[in-house]
Homo-oligomer: 177 residues x 2
């Protein structure tokens, strides 16, 4: 059973980290990658098509760069449009029950800023509470997420390469979850 990666980068052409991650996942061949910023340049999400895609997969990775401690806006619109009443929730909405959801997130700041004493004041696990809340509400299972830190200003090739290796290990380990 392949894993679905819903990728949301507002400017993947100029990305280094997320572009490398996605290229590695494509090369591997065991992952289906769905890039919503490429799919919906006009922001009009095809809800039925997206729901049918999610229904085909047991495990889904939501992948994005963290901007202002949250999703890129089109990914937020994706949740609002696709996770609809009667499908994702409500008495007849069970489509996401039991699915495995996780995050793969590139983060600008260093990890130590994500603490009570850092500039941000909250851990990365606290920052992604909205995602965890949604997972709980639709009855899905939350798998441990992949977070890669320190990509704010022109990351070194070494940092990008190392994170790509760790990202691929994370993806491959999902099949054992």
């Amino acid at each position: 059973m392949k894993t679905l990666i819903i990728a949301a980068h507002p400017d993947i052409a100029h990305s280094r980290v997320n572009k490398n991650w996605l290229n590695a996942a494509k090369k591997d061949g065991n992952f289906v990658i769905h890039e919503i910023y490429k799919e919906y340049p006009n922001w009009q999400i095809d809800v039925k098509e997206e729901q049918e895609l999610l229904e085909k997969f047991e495990c889904v990775v939501f992948e994005f760069p963290l901007y202002w401690y949250s999703y890129p806006p089109l990914l937020k619109k994706y949740f609002d449009d696709v996770f609809a009443y009667g499908w994702a929730y409500g008495s007849k909405g069970k489509a996401l029950n039991g699915k495995k959801f996780t995050l793969a997130v590139s983060v600008g700041d260093d990890e130590h800023e994500y603490s009570k004493d850092g500039h941000i004041g909250f851990s990365i696990e606290e920052v992604v509470t909205p995602f965890k809340s949604a997972v709980n509400f639709v009855g899905a299972k939350l798998l441990p997420s992949f977070f890669a830190f320190g990509f704010s200003i022109d990351p070194s090739d070494e940092l990008v390469e190392n994170s790509t290796k760790e990202y691929m290990k994370f993806l491959r380990d999902l099949s054992f979850s």
Copy 2:
């Protein structure tokens, strides 16, 4: 000094709660209301204009209905576009330092779902961690937020009216913060 309300409802024409709140604030006359979904139907935010608007106010309320435990997507885009490097952060980015920020949020579910034992599994204060992180990062001051619960299915007139009274009290109390 007037307070600025940045309001983000994807469909204010069909809103009951947020429309009532904004109408009451307009009637009061002591608040400047800026509805970004009306301002930017094409989602192309005028960054300079928005920055100049924020610079004029000491206290800013971000007001929206909570969908999937987060901002409406255009409000997320607002943060990504307007809170720019060199203006909101970075060595020369001090525009938001010391400003007072808060939230006014209408919530579908009842408050008891926002707990460890509820369907959501997190408190509303945990859910808005991304906003708190952004406030910390730009050096603004977080004022206590206004949350109104239980508006998921056709709320009663009484519930809407009571929440509007509480909302106006919240807005008026901001001037003493």
